[in-house]
């Protein structure tokens, strides 16, 4: 078994592969969740590609669906489909849709329209209680999700229902489609808002694997309230020329030169 750090690196490489071959996609926000996905899929989540629909499996909803190149990379590395398939991203007659769809092996929820993910995860968590199952549900939210009204309905609802089997992870990279979050519609400070809503909030460096592991491990065992992991991240993390550059939000075409540069930065090309 490779280290989680190595899995995160491979998630980033496959993300770049997919977006390069698709000639479009969202690299910035995909790279910012690579470490989160690596910890989830290779340390925390109970999922089995050979028993994909097991009713007791843990669930993941990628509410910021545009970051699916990274999700597909993680699923491929986990064994849900061959890693080479990421090159089919966004192509006609290929199963890797431009935004998540449940027909894709390992994908638990459709997303791509921001704001609906936390509610879907909340529904899964409620169902676990009703069906007396012990699976855990994770939802990854982006900055855009935090501006959608639907997200705040879900933020209100999860503590009301005392869903301690639900964990939200907010990929807070501070940049959105056209400009910074602070410019477009600032919502900081997040922590007091969420605490006032009844969430237990854990703030971490979203690229520090140990911090992520610790926060996610305790989130699984916390009782009586849902946990909100406020992960401070860097958009484009791992590829120098993309880091903190709003222009790499998407929908980006990578030149051959940029593609090589990115893979070199990630250590895939010596």
């Amino acid at each position: 078994m490779e280290t989680i750090e190595e899995m995160a690196r491979q998630v980033r490489c496959l993300t770049i592969e997919g977006i390069y071959h698709a000639r479009s996609g969202h690299p910035g926000g995909s790279l910012s969740i690579a470490d989160i996905l690596a910890v989830l899929y290779f340390d925390q989540m109970q999922v089995d590609p050979s028993d994909e629909k097991n009713p007791d499996r843990d669930r993941l909803v990628l509410s910021k669906g545009h970051a699916c190149p990274a999700l597909y990379a993680a699923l491929a590395l986990k064994g849900f489909f061959p890693v080479d398939e990421v090159k089919g991203l966004r192509k006609i007659d290929h199963f890797l849709e431009g935004h998540p769809h449940v027909t894709i092996p390992g994908v638990d929820a459709p997303s791509g329209s921001l704001g609906m993910g936390l509610s879907q995860g909340l529904g899964m968590a409620l169902a676990a209680r009703c069906a007396k199952r012990s699976y855990h549900t994770y939802v990854i939210l982006g900055d855009g999700d935090m501006q959608e009204g639907n997200t705040w309905e879900a933020l209100m609802s999860a503590p009301h229902h005392r869903l301690d089997n639900l964990t939200a992870i907010f990929d807070s990279n501070g940049l959105q489609g056209d400009a910074s979050v602070a410019t477009q519609m600032g919502f900081e400070p997040v922590r007091p808002k969420l605490e006032a809503f009844g969430w237990k909030v854990e703030e971490v460096d979203g690229h520090n694997l140990e911090e992520l592991k610790e926060a996610l491990t305790s989130a699984r065992t916390d009782v009586d309230q849902p946990v909100f992991i406020l992960a401070r991240t860097i958009k484009g993390k791992g590829v120098g020329f993309m880091e903190n550059q709003q222009v790499w939000h998407g929908s980006s075409t990578l030149t051959d030169e940029q593609y090589r540069q990115a893979l070199t930065a990630l250590g895939d090309i010596q």
Binding site: M116, S119, L122, G123, M124, L126, N150, M156
Partner: protein, 324 residues
């Protein structure tokens, strides 16, 4: 175990009462469905279920978008969410959640909404949902059901629990005449021919079915033979029954408590114009918002009466004659 107990023909019963009754009756028979409510169980008719099965009721408060997307996630477990609210909130406020989090992944969610059409009455235009059929039937994977009376609603609910995939069902508000005695098996996608006729066919849904039967009686007195079809499944359409009506009677009048834009009449016309183009006249609300008033006053004001159907029948017959 409680048996489904039906009403007698001719009784006037709100479909909301039937909804509450069938929820409770079916809950005793099967454990696999849960009620999702947004603080309107008194309005949708679900109250008896909420009282009898609090542990199978999930409360979302006035937050329908969250409720709808949560239902999508919930259905993933194999348990069936029965999502209830007023039609305006279920089909508009939470429309995208229904489309993307339920219909797109074909999740097994049943959306049952009250407060539709002019039948809502005094609450006025904000709640009088006249666009829901147009909105819901245009989404892929969705089945759309409009029961005509209390007994049919109960049979329809039992049928939709056995149906795999997303369903939207209308629940009427004001007391409506019960059209048949006891149980009639409800088959999703099958229209019911309630009266034979050969000059034209009145195709109606919901509260307009009783009015179509009344109109057919009046037309018979004028020597016009009108067939009456209860089109209780708007999607998928019963093609055979509709094409037979066009072929055998050659003229169609549709009747719905809904806008004439995009609703049941449009669905019928879309099929016929491509298969057997015969004259069609649509009775419904003419691209307007509703207003306050009692349901029968509104029906009069907006032309949703048996009398309007009689006039529409005469008009469509003139078109049919003109073609010969």
């Amino acid at each position: 175990m409680k048996q489904l107990s039906y009403w007698k023909r001719g009784e006037k019963v709100s479909l909301r009462d039937a909804f509450g009754r069938v929820l409770v009756s079916m809950a005793a028979r099967r454990q696999d469905f849960y009620l999702f409510d947004a603080d309107v169980a008194g309005g949708t008719g679900a109250k008896p279920f909420v009282s009898d099965y609090p542990e199978r009721t999930l409360q979302f408060g006035i937050a329908e978008q969250n409720m709808m997307a949560a239902a999508g996630g919930f259905a993933d477990s194999g348990l069936i969410p029965i999502v209830t609210t007023f039609a305006a909130f279920g089909t508009m406020r939470a429309h995208e959640q229904f489309r993307t989090a339920i219909a797109y992944p074909e999740r097994n969610v049943k959306l049952c909404c009250s407060h539709l059409g002019l039948d809502v009455g005094p609450d006025g235009a904000t709640a009088q949902m006249l666009e829901d059929l147009a909105i819901m039937r245009s989404i892929p994977n969705v089945t759309v059901i409009v029961p005509a009376d209390a007994n049919q609603l109960m049979s329809a609910f039992a049928a939709l629990l056995d149906w795999q995939g997303p369903v939207y069902m209308r629940i009427g508000r004001s007391p409506a005449p019960v059209l048949s005695d006891g149980a009639t098996a409800f088959q999703i996608g099958r229209a019911d021919r309630l009266r034979e006729g050969h000059d034209l066919t009145l195709i109606a849904c919901g509260v307009m079915v009783a009015k179509a039967l009344e109109a057919a009686e009046q037309l018979a007195e004028e020597g016009i033979s009108a067939r009456v079809v209860n089109l209780s499944t708007i999607k998928p359409l019963d093609r055979d029954e509709l094409l037979s009506a066009a072929r055998e009677t050659g003229a169609i009048v549709t009747a719905e408590d809904h806008s004439v834009l995009g609703g049941m009449g449009s669905a019928v016309a879309e099929l016929l114009i491509q298969e057997i183009p015969v004259p069609v006249t649509m009775v419904g609300v003419q691209d307007q918002f509703g207003k306050s008033g009692e349901p029968d006053e509104l029906a009069e004001k907006f032309g949703l009466t048996a009398q309007t159907l009689v006039k529409a029948a005469r008009a469509v017959l003139l078109k049919k004659e003109g073609r010969k």
